[in-house]
């Protein structure tokens, strides 16, 4: 095939201006072929060269043999949103080769495995063949690892092409293989020899080049699910009940990995936590409710279908006032939808989850450091409010690798909320009275006891049926209304303790933008681009529901607000409408759901289009 590759881009490198630290590379492979390690190695290496980098894995919902794309964006300014075009592709999958070419910018680079026999359709690209088979042949690895090793070929050639430091690569490999010498060396061997082959046989004709920077110093790199798990561990999580589901599984799996490291006594082997794989999400939710009621910090992680199954139990938790933490790592719905693609499509379901009038706290992390932070904070909020807290992450955040600030040790002591042990109860009873559902402090939140409390007055009968302030069964109309109204009051208390939004303002902003979670990178980048075109914007990133006062302030200050989100119906906007009817006409819908993270380009174009229509 090499011969049939067009080579019309005849300018040499010198002819064109180099593009340094600002391009995107997509690895086009099939899943199950072990390319993840190779891709991670490239990404980590660039990161360690001090250059800002981000990775997006677009993978199919199966295990082996289908097309998978991994895009690494290198951006000296630190922009990490998804880009719509590639500058470089590493083409390993014949099945998608021709299609993959379409996504390249003119002058883009095609590093292709010489297994690929199709004749490319574009002649404005630069083609480099990679003799993958040949270069991986010599290596001494077990046959089942052969494919795996083959991927190291492209690492080596790419390293030569864009200038990744080989020593940094070795460092990244050492990290990957936890320092185990054999795999590090055999992989590095292939990389090195491929690098050398490239140096000898290829002539660089493209313009993409890495140069070391200092922009990632002190940063960490991880995925949101791992960060969430670690945060939860620092939050003192005690019971994890879960049921596998993409893209949530790796969160409990990270708990399974790290809990023994951090929460198991090195000497006695005693563990201060329990992880239970439930038989389904209803059971997982039931375990949460039981454990939360029992005074444990209990959490689960799930995604759409599991969330829907938990509806009934979450309504019980709301009404029986049981704290629990649930991570909803959102994927594309409705129904089974696209299990391996990202979305922000469960907001309204959660907002109105379970029959009857309910309310929950939702938290919206947008970065790995927020995953860590909300990982522990969610427990404080849940126990303080005696209410389920649902942390709305998504596949993009949960499963992709992100640069981030190092995790910060919790800056507050744990808030175990209004829990009464034997003596506390004794004192309370001496001072006056205690009723499980008595709102003594007028903040909507009663005091609770938990099983194991041996004070003979501590026990009460928890239930999902009508009850009075003393947890006695009641069908009295006034009692029902009073208790449910009091529970409703918790929302006001919640507003005071949930994370406040993050606001970014510009001088002379023409309008506002409101968004949540992983819409963030695209918005930040789009704002910079708009700014370049002379359009200043303000931006508020909501971090929790119920909304805090800052949200209203922001809305009040802006005549026009784009609500940017990854779903069809504009769910965040719907919730804003319900909460701020007085500003209803300010909210512009900017919602889409196609399974991909937003790009800055779409955000910018869509805003410009709507702005144009408006005027």
């Amino acid at each position: 095939m090499t011969q049939s590759m067009p080579n019309v881009v005849s300018e040499t490198v010198q002819d064109r201006k180099m593009i340094v630290n600002d391009f995107a590379i997509t690895f086009c492979t099939v899943n199950g072929s072990g390319s993840a390690t190779a891709n991670m190695t490239v990404m980590r290496s660039i990161f360690k060269m001090g250059v800002p980098v981000s990775g997006k894995n677009i993978f199919p919902s199966n295990i082996q043999g289908l097309p998978t794309w991994y895009t690494i964006r290198v951006n000296k300014d630190g922009y990490i949103a998804r880009v719509e075009k590639d500058d470089i592709i590493v083409a390993m999958n014949p099945a998608t080769f021709l299609k993959d070419l379409e996504y390249l910018v003119p002058g883009g680079v095609v590093l292709y495995s010489d297994d690929i026999k199709q004749t490319p359709t574009r002649d404005d690209l630069i083609y480099y063949p990679m003799p993958v088979k040949k270069l991986s042949r010599g290596v001494d690895v077990p046959p089942q690892l052969r494919d795996f090793i083959a991927n190291m070929v492209y690492v080596g050639i790419l390293a030569w092409l864009i200038g990744i430091d080989l020593e940094v690569i070795r460092y990244a490999l050492a990290f990957q293989f936890k320092g185990k010498k054999t795999p590090v060396e055999s992989n590095f061997g292939v990389i090195k020899s491929s690098y050398d082959w490239a140096a000898e046989n290829l002539v660089k004709k493209d313009v993409y080049r890495l140069e070391p920077m200092q922009a990632t110093e002190g940063l960490i790199m991880t995925d949101g699910n791992t960060a969430a798990a670690l945060g939860a561990i620092y939050g003192g999580v005690q019971l994890v009940s879960w049921y596998p589901i993409t893209p949530a599984s790796s969160l409990p799996e990270a708990l399974i990995e790290y809990l023994p490291e951090l929460r198991k006594d090195k000497e006695t082997g005693e563990q201060t936590y329990v992880v239970v794989q439930a038989e389904d999400e209803i059971a997982a939710a039931g375990m949460l409710v039981g454990a939360g009621w029992g005074g444990l910090r209990a959490m689960s992680a799930t995604s759409g279908p599991g969330l829907s199954l938990m509806n009934e139990y979450l309504g019980l938790a709301y009404f029986a006032e049981v704290p629990l933490v649930l991570w909803d790592v959102q994927r594309v719905g409705p129904s089974t939808g696209l299990p391996t693609r990202t979305a922000q499509g469960d907001l309204t379901e959660v907002y109105f989850m379970s029959h009857g009038d309910t309310n929950y706290v939702q938290l919206f992390p947008a970065s790995v450091e927020e995953c860590f932070e909300f990982g522990w904070k969610a427990f404080d909020i849940a126990e303080r409010l005696q209410m389920p807290v649902i942390v709305m992450s998504d596949l993009d955040l949960g499963m992709n690798q992100w640069m981030g600030k190092p995790f910060v040790y919790p800056d507050k002591p744990m808030d175990r909320g209004k829990i009464l042990w034997e003596k506390d109860l004794q004192e309370m009873l001496q001072k006056g009275q205690w009723g499980r559902y008595l709102d003594i402090d007028d903040d909507g939140i009663p005091y609770r006891t938990v099983p194991g409390n041996l004070n003979p007055k501590s026990a009460y009968f928890a239930r999902g049926t009508g009850h009075d302030e003393f947890a006695h069964y009641s069908e009295e109309p006034e009692v029902w209304e009073r208790v449910l109204t009091r529970i409703g009051k918790k929302v006001e208390t919640a507003r005071l303790i949930v994370p406040k939004p993050v606001v970014h303002s510009m001088e002379g902003a023409k309008f506002g933008i409101i968004a949540i979670g992983t819409a963030d990178p695209a918005i930040e980048e789009a704002r910079a681009k708009l700014k370049e075109e002379g359009i200043s914007t303000d931006y508020l990133r909501v971090r929790a529901l119920p909304f805090t006062a800052e949200v209203e302030e922001f809305i009040r200050a802006h005549e026009r607000i784009y609500v940017v989100e990854l779903n069809r119906d504009g769910q965040l906007r719907q919730i804003l409408l319900i909460n701020y009817p007085q500003y209803a006409m300010r909210f512009r819908k900017m919602a889409r759901t196609n399974g991909l993270p937003l790009s800055a380009r779409w955000v910018k174009d869509e805003i410009l289009a709507q702005e144009a229509k408006k005027s």
Partner: protein, 349 residues
Amino acid sequence: MTDSQSASTQGTNLIGLTRADYRGLPSTLCQGCGHNAISNQIVAAMYELNIIPEKVVKFSGIGCSSKSPAYFLNRSFTFNGLHGRMPSLALGALFADTSLHGLGVSGDGDTASIGIGQFKHLIRRNVPMVYIVENNGVYGLTKGQFSATAEKGLTLKHEGTNIFLPVDICLEALASNATFVARSFAGDPKQVKELLKAAISHRGIAVLDLISPCVTFNNKDDTIHSYVFGKEHEVRLHDLIFTPARDMLTVEDFEEGTARDVELYDGSVITLHKLEKDYDPTDRQAAFRVLEEAREKRELLTGLIYANPDEPSLFDQYKLPEKPLNRLTEAELRPAKETIAEVNSWMFS
């Protein structure tokens, strides 16, 4: 006479509590409901076992049966949860303090219809608790529909005739590797009480399938869940007496060869007094067989059907501190400040 019995005659038990300390609110179930009879035996068993009421946690689903935890053990924490989903609730809660006695009360609809999945997975995990099914073959609280334990051919007022074979709670428990399986009858209070005591003392899950007539919706003399049928067709596998560990000296003597003992993990003993035939409740195959035979003969077979006293419970599978999890402090739960640097180093920092 055992200690506990002697204590009871004095109005308080060994820990100085009266029967009243084990009671609950007045029942709002129908008069004559089998569930009330069972509540009474729970009170008696707990009293006689000298259990601190605060050391018991009760759970239930939804149904008349599931309401009954309100009618005993007022001084124990209780969670009356969702229909068919009590097992997961109990599992989560019991981890909070593994020194507590878990006591679940469910109905046949709650367990065998909507709840069969959670029921079986609870058993599979050998969660240490007593799981009572107050089995009346019908949905009481929703006014008389078929439950999954209704006999084939049963006719109910608004529902027509049941066309399905019943779920056999004991057989299901066995199939799920339950470590303690018994069946009894609300009309046989003494046996219910002894089985309850044994169940409470068992190391893992103890499933009690208690036939408990619904006098309002399913008590016709010829239906298998009625009082009359039970009285007429009960066949006891054995007479059984439970002796707590500390009462070992007082174990009643049976004539050689007429009794067999099952020693539970805590050292207490169930003495099984042979009736028609000798029956070995540690033989799983035999358990399958007698259940099958009873079904064919349309007998209400009662007694300890199967026990495997030593199988580790779910809690035995985790190495938990002695202090209950729910009493652990911030210092015990939150990793020390120093660790954060290491954690960040794991993140390729």
